[in-house]
């Protein structure tokens, strides 16, 4: 069946056979590389995307489930020319090593700052709890999210 939804603000349509997950669609016919396969069981956070603003795993979700909805990925947050404050903050804090987990973490962090522009450290940890990082860059990532929150509140004040 055909599935139509908004991807990073742009309407898209894909043919979604039974067995095609949203992650398959994003990395396959839709040509993205940001959402990553980690486990296929919604247990590691690599594949997180925002569905109507809510961070959700995409690796086990049938593609047809996002019919008519808005899907956001790390590619939609910003670009090297116009980075999201989180992307700038992750670079300033050098918050990453292998980086494989970062796409999903940035999606969850952006959703957190949307609903809570001034999170404390505990709130950041809680928002990132679904995400695994094996390199041990957690503390840098927490600092980067807090830095981005400061930058965003400064910019909007």
């Amino acid at each position: 069946m055909d599935v139509s939804f908004t991807l990073n603000g742009t309407p898209v349509r894909v043919e979604a056979p039974e067995g095609m997950t949203l992650l398959h669609a994003l990395r396959g016919p839709l040509g993205l590389s940001g959402p990553r396969f980690g486990c296929g069981a919604e247990a590691c956070g690599c594949c997180y995307v925002a569905i109507d603003g809510e961070p959700r795993p995409s690796c086990a979700l049938p593609a047809e489930a996002v019919q008519g909805r808005a899907v956001g990925t790390v590619e939609g947050l910003g670009t090297p020319e116009a980075p999201h404050p989180l992307q700038s903050a992750f670079l300033e804090e050098q918050a990453g090593q292998c980086g494989y987990c970062l796409s999903g973490i940035l999606v969850s962090a952006a959703a957190l700052l949307e609903r809570n522009p001034d999170p404390n450290e505990a709130a950041v940890r809680a928002a990132l709890e679904p995400h695994l990082c094996r390199c041990g860059a957690h503390n840098r990532m927490i600092r980067a999210v807090l830095r981005a929150a400061r930058a965003m509140s400064g910019a909007s004040a």
């Binding site: 590389s33 992750f90 050098q94 709890e129 695994l132």
Partner: protein, 714 residues
């Protein structure tokens, strides 16, 4: 002065006096080439595995050439486009590759300056280099590296006669530098081999048997989704489709239609020490010293045990292969592209020249994960589709359960102090599988699927490097403390039911913990402060004493307990006995489970190229060690590994990550010693000591879970 570091390497020996990897690949053009466009391409044989090595190597090149970092392009390693630097492992890349690049760039600079000087009629010493441009005594531009790029000046062998800059004159190396690879990763740009998309590319999945020892008895026919097809190679099954969803769906159907004859081959996971003791082994003496020792007054005798561990890469291993006639090109995140190629030669029956191996980044591997194995899978399956690029991506279950694992082991230690409270005797007996099944080192291949072909290749039992090469299971088994009577031996198992290979830290995970625990116990037995007791035995190793004193200051040692069930432990080790020094203090809180609340880390890594990168690596290693110490143990039954998901192999989560304070205190004019691994062993050890401070229990088995701690109380 740069020391010649001892390391094994493929075709070493043609230039034995050159520094670092220049010995194996002395031609300067192996390492760098200038482009008329105003850049330099540097081609190391070491690879990016998330540790930031390419950034550090670029810093070294920029410094020696007097070029800004943005004119330096680091090429990903490939055969035959980069020198054979063996494996990117052992915290050795700055020593081996960095030293080579530093000297190669220094020589390249001198060669270029000689030519520019001769043409301008000035002395080479009168020329300055700024932004890669040669400036004469009057400040006039005399040319640049790139205006001389076409002259083939670097088609010469290194002579080793140009001294690199002294530490005091380096401007880029030694300064914190942003990672060159990180921007792609925060913008979701394609960078990993997982993201490689070639025209006409097919997607494949392997279908593994339900047991380590299994024969495919029957494969029922049935429809497959999309254009998926099934391929059988001996006892290997794969599915291939032009779209990834179809490959995943087909793999599930084929797995359900396959019937295997299986045989139990794995030991009892609940009594690994008994299995280890009963298994035939090869004994080697690691260290022995028989100086006269005073009589023993207090003796400690204890056994320390560790389980099998998984690398736990966040991205399952992946590779792409494409055959053209009887030649194959492979894109891989292997840590050793030439070593991988050597095993592919054996399995595929090709000559080396017919195999091109190109490195692309994967997720962090932390040692020998499935990267090499999946490269063979891709080559085997793609052979059935000539001309078509074919991508194999492992499942989470394959990555956790079928990758090589870090082997279980036991350490029996008996040590004693004399009437003055000084160590007098130390005896350690280690038992376990070897820590290397890396490819390219034996007659037979070590790659997983080679063992399931028809006929199968016999996969060699894992080995351990000798101590001169850093050791494997015996790594850090020789205490860094002065002791007159010393006897350390290792029994490497000669059977390998679970494929074992290198995980970050190797034997240091067990051995540093065991050694430091015994030191703590001897200190306690004789009423000495554990830090003071260690310092009494470190007079021959002032840099170890320095990091220990530093971390004691950082954490406010001796720390009073912050509350009931809270305690702090401290530990120190020099990684491999030849690498970086690292001391760690850990504050733990024991409630229903043990948590690590705070880590303090002090390290002396000698020269540091990128201080921020080194700090990132040390902290990352320490956090991986927190996870290993408190949570990790590979589960299996008699047929197969059952830790095949994050539910069955849990690792540290954000809510469990301790605060970390870290200081680097090494001298910048000393040789670089590597940052990736020194913090793991001391972190495990400090957590164990913290548990004792909190609960009065000496942990005897990893991980330090309630069950294992309860057993230690008995």
């Amino acid at each position: 002065m740069n020391l010649a570091f001892g390391f094994p390497m493929g075709q070493a020996g043609n230039a034995p006096d050159l520094p670092g990897s220049l010995r194996a690949a002395p031609r300067l053009s192996n390492w760098l080439r200038f482009s008329p466009g105003g850049t330099v391409a540097v081609t190391p044989g070491k690879v990016e595995i998330g540790q930031g090595i390419l950034t550090a190597l670029a810093q070294i090149a920029a410094d020696e050439l007097d070029m800004p970092l943005d004119r330096v392009r680091i090429a990903a390693a490939s055969t035959p486009g980069s020198p054979n630097e063996g494996v990117t492992s052992g915290s050795l890349s700055i020593q081996e590759s960095g030293t080579a690049i530093r000297h190669a760039c220094a020589e390249a600079r001198a060669i270029h300056l000689r030519l520019a000087a001769a043409r301008a009629g000035v002395e080479p010493g009168a020329i300055r280099v700024e932004d890669g441009v040669f400036l004469g005594p009057d400040g006039a531009a005399l040319g640049a590296y790139w205006t001389q790029a076409e002259e083939a000046l670097l088609e010469v062998e290194a002579r080793g006669d140009v001294a690199p800059k002294p530490a005091s004159r380096r401007g880029v190396a030694g300064q914190a530098s942003a990672r060159l690879d990180l921007p792609d990763k925060v913008f979701g740009a394609p960078r990993y081999v997982h993201d490689l998309r070639l025209p006409g590319m097919l997607h494949a999945r392997m279908v593994r048997p339900p047991a380590r020892v299994a024969t495919l008895a029957e494969l029922r026919e049935g429809p497959l989704p999309g254009d998926a097809a099934v391929l059988r190679l001996g006892n290997l099954l794969a599915v291939v489709a032009s779209e990834e969803w179809a490959a995943d769906a087909a793999a599930a159907r084929v797995a359900a239609r396959a019937r295997w004859e299986t045989r139990e081959s794995l030991p009892d996971e609940n009594d690994l020490p008994a299995w280890i003791e009963a298994t035939p082994a090869q004994r080697t003496e690691v260290a022995r010293q028989n100086d006269p020792s005073p009589p023993a007054v207090h003796t400690i005798s204890a056994r320390f045990a560790r389980p099998y561990l998984a690398h736990g890469s966040i991205g399952p291993s992946c590779a792409v292969a494409r055959w053209e006639g009887e030649a194959v090109e492979i894109w891989t995140h292997s840590q050793g592209i030439y070593n991988l190629r050597a095993d592919l030669v054996t399995v595929l029956g090709l000559d080396a020249a017919s195999i091109t191996v190109r490195h692309m980044e994967g997720a962090g591997c932390y040692g020998h994960n499935g990267a090499d194995d999946v490269a063979l899978d891709a080559a085997l399956v793609a052979r059935a589709y000539p001309g078509r690029p074919l991508r194999v991506r492992w499942s989470r279950a394959e990555e956790l359960a079928w990758s090589p694992h870090s082997p279980a082991a036991i350490a029996d230690i008996e040590a004693a102090v004399d009437a003055d409270g000084m160590l007098c005797t130390w005896r350690t007996v280690l038992r376990g599988n070897g820590h290397s099944s890396r490819p390219g080192r034996a007659k037979d291949p070590t790659l997983l699927s080679a063992g399931y072909l028809d006929p199968p290749f016999p996969l060699p039992v894992a080995i351990d490097a000798p101590m001169a090469g850093g050791g494997g299971g015996q790594r850090n088994s020789v205490p860094g403390y002065r002791v007159p009577s010393l006897d350390v031996s290792m029994h490497r198992l000669l059977e390998m039911p679970i494929r074992s290979s290198a995980l970050r830290g190797l034997g240091a995970l067990l051995n540093v913990w065991a050694t430091e625990s015994v030191m703590d116990e001897l200190a306690a037995r004789t009423g000495q402060d554990p830090v003071a007791f260690r310092l009494r035995h470190l007079e021959d190793d002032p840099r170890a004493a320095a990091v220990l004193r530093e971390v004691a200051t950082m954490c406010g040692w001796p720390r009073a307990a912050a509350g009931e069930g809270i305690g702090t432990g401290i530990a120190v080790a020099r990684y491999k006995g030849t690498g970086g020094w690292c001391a760690v203090a850990a504050e733990v809180e024991a409630a229903e489970v043990v948590r690590c609340r705070h880590l303090w880390i002090a390290a002396d890594l000698g020269e540091i190229i990128n201080p921020d990168g080194a700090a990132n690596q040390l902290e990352g290693g320490a956090l991986q060690a927190v996870s290993i110490a408190l949570k990790e143990a590979l589960r299996f039954d008699r047929l197969n590994v059952t830790s095949d998901s994050w539910e069955t192999y849990p690792i540290l989560r954000f809510s469990e990550v301790p605060a970390v304070e870290l200081r680097l205190i090494g001298p910048q004019d000393a040789p670089p010693l590597g940052a990736g691994e020194p913090s793991l062993g001391p972190t495990v050890a400090a957590i164990a000591a913290g548990i004792h401070a909190a609960l009065g229990i000496r942990p005897r088995a990893m991980p330090f879970t309630p069950d294992n701690l309860a057993a230690a109380m008995e």
